[in-house]
Symmetry: C2
Subunit: 492 residues, 2 copies
C-alpha cells in the first residue's frame, strides 16, 4: 500500500484505475468485463442501497424479484427496446455441460442439451416484467403498481472500466404501471427528483436535472429524464435516469385495464434506475491524488483512531482513551474504528486510511496522553489540529456535517465554474479543448446537427435542462432558430 497514485494532472484515467484497485474498491475478474466488488467498495454500495431503498419505500414502492432470463420471444416484443439491447447481450443456449470424450478432465457443451428457445440474460427487465404485469392488471383497482428490484444485469460492452462500464453491473430498476399519462409522468419526475436529492444530499454530488434528446433516450422510452454530474476532468457522467415509457410496453405485451367507466385502456409505464456506476461518480467527484475522499454520509468508517506508541504499556494507556472515544462516538451514531494492529506502523495506517477516504483520523500518542489532547486530521482538507479530549465528540459531530457540506460546496463551485455559455462553434470547440465541462449552447433541435457536433467534437447533448431559461437564439452549428440552450459535454 506504499504505492503512490499517478497524479490526476498527469493521467486522470490511470489515476482512476489505480485508485479503484489500491483503495480496495473493486478489481477485474477472470470474466471479460465483469468486476469483483471488494468488501470495502461493496460496503459503500450498501450504504447507497439502504438510503435509496428507504426513499423508494417512503414513496410507496415495494421490492420484488423477477427472473434473470428473458426468453427471446419476449425480449423481441418491444421493437425499439430489443433493437437497443440485442447488440450486446449474453445469450444462454444450453443447459448442460458434459465430459469431453477426448479429455476426461475437460467439460464441453452438451449438444443434446440445447434450449428450445434461447434465453437472454436481462440487460434491463421491462420485457419480463411487463409480461408478468399482464397477469396482474385487469382493472383500475389494480393500479398503480409501484415496484422496484435490486438486481444484476448484463450488457456485453466492448470497452469496460471498473464501475463506469462493466459487462455485469448491479443496479435497482423501478417499474411502475399507471392508469393515466399524467400519473406516469409525475412518477417519472418524482423518481428523477429522488435521484437528484440522493446525489446531492447524500453523495455530495451536484447534478443537473433535464431530459434527454431523442437520440440519447432509453430504447423504448417516450421521454428520458436524467441527472448529469461533472467529473474533475471536465467530462460529464449520467448518474441516473427515469423513463416515461408511454404505452409502448403495455401495447407490446397487451396490458389493458378496465377503467372506472368500464372501457379497456392500455396501461402507462415508467422505469428508472441507478447502478454501481454511481461508485465511479463518487470517486471522480471528490477524490484527490492521495486517494479516495468520502462524504461522511457514505463512509463505512467515519472516524479511525490510530495509536502511536512504543511498548505495551503505552498502548494500554492509549487504548483506554481510544476505547472510551469509540464508545462515546458510537453512542452519538458515528461509526468508528480503533486500529490497534501491531502488524502495521502508524505511517502505513495514515496512508492507507487516506487512500480509503476515511473522513476523520484521530491519532493518539504519549504526548497527547499528557496533555489530554488528540490529533485530528480531516481527509477532505488534509488539515490537522490538536483537540481537547473532552471536546472531541462534539467536534466530530460538527465535522460530519461540515465535511459533507464542504465536499458538496467544492464540487458545486467546480461544476458551476464549468458551465460555459458559447455563441459560436469556434468558441464551442475552444472551450471543449481548453476547459471542458458543460457547454451551454443553442441547438436547432435536429438529430442531424446533434450527430454532426458529436462527430466533430465527441461532445454529446447531456440534457435539455429543466431549469434552463427559455431564450431565443441561433444554433451553434447551423445558425437555425433555437428557443433554449442545451448542455453539451464529453461524457463517460
Amino acid at each position: 500500500m506504499s504505492k503512490k497514485l499517478t497524479p490526476r494532472e498527469k493521467d486522470y484515467s490511470k489515476w482512476y484505475n489505480e485508485l479503484v484497485i489500491e483503495a480496495n474498491l473493486a478489481e477485474n475478474s477472470a470474466v471479460r468485463g465483469c468486476m469483483v466488488i471488494k468488501p470495502y467498495g461493496y460496503s459503500i454500495w450498501e450504504k447507497m442501497q439502504a438510503e435509496l431503498d428507504s426513499k423508494f419505500k417512503e414513496t410507496g414502492h415495494e421490492n420484488a424479484y423477477f427472473p434473470l432470463f428473458v426468453p427471446k420471444s419476449l425480449f423481441e416484443a418491444e421493437e425499439k427496446n430489443a433493437e437497443g439491447f440485442a447488440k450486446e447481450c449474453a445469450v444462454v443456449t444450453h443447459y448442460r455441460l458434459k465430459t469431453d470424450p477426448e479429455d476426461a478432465s475437460k467439460l464441453i457443451v452438451d449438444p443434446d442439451a440445447k434450449l428450445e428457445e434461447e434465453l437472454v440474460v436481462r440487460p434491463t427487465s421491462e420485457a419480463i416484467i411487463w409480461n408478468t404485469y399482464k397477469g396482474w392488471i385487469q382493472s383500475y383497482r389494480d393500479l398503480p403498481i409501484l415496484i422496484n428490484q435490486w438486481a444484476n444485469v448484463v450488457r456485453w460492452e466492448m470497452r469496460t472500466r471498473l464501475f463506469l462500464r462493466t459487462a455485469e453491473f448491479l443496479w435497482q430498476e423501478g417499474h411502475t404501471a399507471h392508469a393515466t399519462k399524467e400519473e406516469a409522468l409525475a412518477e417519472t419526475e418524482q423518481m428523477n427528483n429522488i435521484y437528484a436529492e440522493f446525489a446531492e444530499n447524500f453523495m455530495a454530488i451536484p447534478v443537473i436535472k433535464g431530459r434527454k434528446t431523442d437520440s440519447e433516450r432509453f430504447a423504448g422510452a417516450e421521454e428520458t429524464y436524467c441527472i448529469e454530474a461533472l467529473m474533475q476532468d471536465g467530462k460529464a457522467l449520467q448518474a441516473g435516469t427515469s423513463h416515461f415509457l408511454g404505452q409502448n410496453f403495455a401495447k407490446a405485451f397487451d396490458v389493458k385495464f378496465a377503467s372506472k367507466e368500464g372501457d379497456l385502456k392500455h396501461v402507462w409505464a415508467t422505469s428508472w434506475g441507478v447502478s454501481t456506476r454511481l461508485m465511479g461518480a463518487l470517486i471522480m467527484t471528490h477524490s484527490d491524488d492521495k486517494g479516495l475522499v468520502l462524504p461522511p454520509k457514505l463512509a463505512p468508517v467515519q472516524v479511525v483512531i490510530v495509536p502511536i506508541y512504543k511498548g505495551e504499556e503505552q498502548l494500554n494507556q492509549i487504548s483506554e482513551v481510544a476505547n472510551q472515544l469509540v464508545k462515546d462516538l458510537r453512542a452519538v451514531g458515528v461509526s468508528v474504528k480503533f486500529d490497534n494492529r501491531d502488524t502495521h506502523k502508524p505511517g502505513w495506517k495514515f496512508a492507507q486510511y487516506e487512500l480509503q477516504g476515511v473522513p476523520v483520523r484521530l491519532a493518539i500518542g504519549p504526548k497527547d496522553l499528557e496533555k489530554g489532547t488528540v490529533e485530528l486530521a480531516r481527509r477532505d482538507t488534509l488539515t490537522k489540529e490538536f483537540v481537547e479530549r473532552d471536546s472531541v465528540v462534539e467536534k466530530i459531530q460538527d465535522l460530519m456535517v461540515e465535511i459533507q457540506d464542504h465536499l458538496f460546496g467544492k464540487a458545486k463551485a467546480y461544476r458551476d465554474n464549468h458551465i460555459t455559455e458559447v455563441e459560436t462553434f469556434d468558441e464551442f470547440k475552444e472551450v471543449l479543448k481548453v476547459k471542458g465541462g458543460f457547454i451551454s449552447a443553442h441547438w436547432d433541435g435536429t438529430p442531424e446537427t446533434e450527430n454532426k457536433i458529436k462527430e466533430l467534437t465527441k461532445a454529446t447533448i447531456r440534457c435539455i435542462p429543466f431549469e434552463g431559461k427559455k431564450e431565443e437564439g441561433k444554433c451553434v452549428l447551423t445558425g437555425e432558430k433555437s428557443s433554449q440552450r442545451v448542455l453539451f459535454a464529453k461524457a463517460y
Copy 2:
C-alpha cells in the same frame, strides 16, 4: 381472493402451490422453472436477509460481489464440484442477437458473436471466488478472509416448485479462507449454529443439526454440516448447509500462503448458504388450511386494523381510534396497517389477512366505540377476544412474544413426536408409510446400504445428528455393526 385452499389432508402438495399463489408470495414466470417473487413474498425474504446479514456481520463477515459468470476452464478446475453441477447449468455461448434475415420482427443468435470460451451462469461461486482469492492471499497476514455474497444462482433443475426448487433462486453464500484446518472447521460449525439459531429463534422452525453422509455431501466438500427441518406432511427439508471444503479449492486454484514460520501452505476453506428455499420451509412449518401463518418476527405487517362501519361518520369515528392505535403500536416497534379501503368489505379483508398470515387482526365497529373495546383475533390459534382499548398496546406487545413462542413450541412438539426409533427394516417401512417424519435407525456406514434403503423406500439419510447419543446397535438393513443412530426421512 374468496377462493378456498385445498385442505392439507386432501392434497398437501396442491395446498402448498395454491397457498404460495393466493397469498401473493410468488408465481411461475415465462421462463421455465424461474419464479417471480411478488412484493409480499419478497418483503418476508427481506426480513430474513436483514436478520441473517446482521448475524454475519456480528461474527466478522463482510459482503462483497463476484461475477455471475464462471468461465468453463475455471468451472472445471475442482473436479468433484464441476461434476456435481455440470449436469444442470445454464451456459452462455453468444454475446449478441441480430435481426432474423427471414423475418425482420424476429431476432436470432448472431453466429459471428460466439464466445471463445463458454460461460457458466454460477450454480455456486466457489470456482470464481477461489480464483479471485488466489490474488488476495500471500501471507498468513491476509487470513482469515470472511466474505459473504447475496446473489442469484442458477441450477437447471428438471422438476421445479415455487421456492422449494427453482432454476434460479436467491441466496447468500459465505466463502471463507483460513490458515488452519481447526479454524476452518470452527467456522463451518459456527455458521451452521448461526443458521440453527436463526431458524429456531427467528423463523420458529425447530431444526436438527448434523453432518451429511458422503453421498449427500456438497460436491467438492470434505464435510457438510446441515440443519434439517420437518414439514407438516412428515417430509424433511434441508434448511441450510455449511461446508468444510478442506484444501480442495486451494489446491485446484493453487492458493497458498506463507506461514509465520515462512513455509508455503495451502489455504483451508469453508462455504455456507441458505436460500429462498427457506420460504418454503416457513410456509410448510406453520401454515394451515386458511393460509399462511407467520411468526411475528418475520411478518412484514404484524397487526392489521379493519374498520367495520356504515357510512362516513362511523368511519371517521373509528379512524380516530384506529389512527391513535397505529401511532401507539408503531411507537413500541410493532408494524401495523390500518386498512380503511372502501373497495373491499370487512369479510373479504378478514379472509385476505388470514390467507397472508398477519399475526394479529383488530376489528373496530360501532359497538366497540361505545364500549371502549376492540376485537382481537390471533392468526395462529384462530381465537378471538374483546380487549379494552387502553390495554391493547400492552396486550399486543405480549402477544408478539407469545405467538412466536407458541409457533415454535407447536412445531417442535410435532417434530419431536415424529422422530421414531426403529430396530428392524419392517418397522422402518411401516413408520415411513403410516407416520412419516424422521426415522432414527442404525446404519452400517456404507454408501451401498444407504443407496439400497433409498431405492427401497425413497428415504435418505438426512443427517448424522451431532447430538445423537453414541449407542451400539445393528444396521436396520444389513444387521452389521453400527455405533450411532442416523436420521432417515423422505425429503423435499
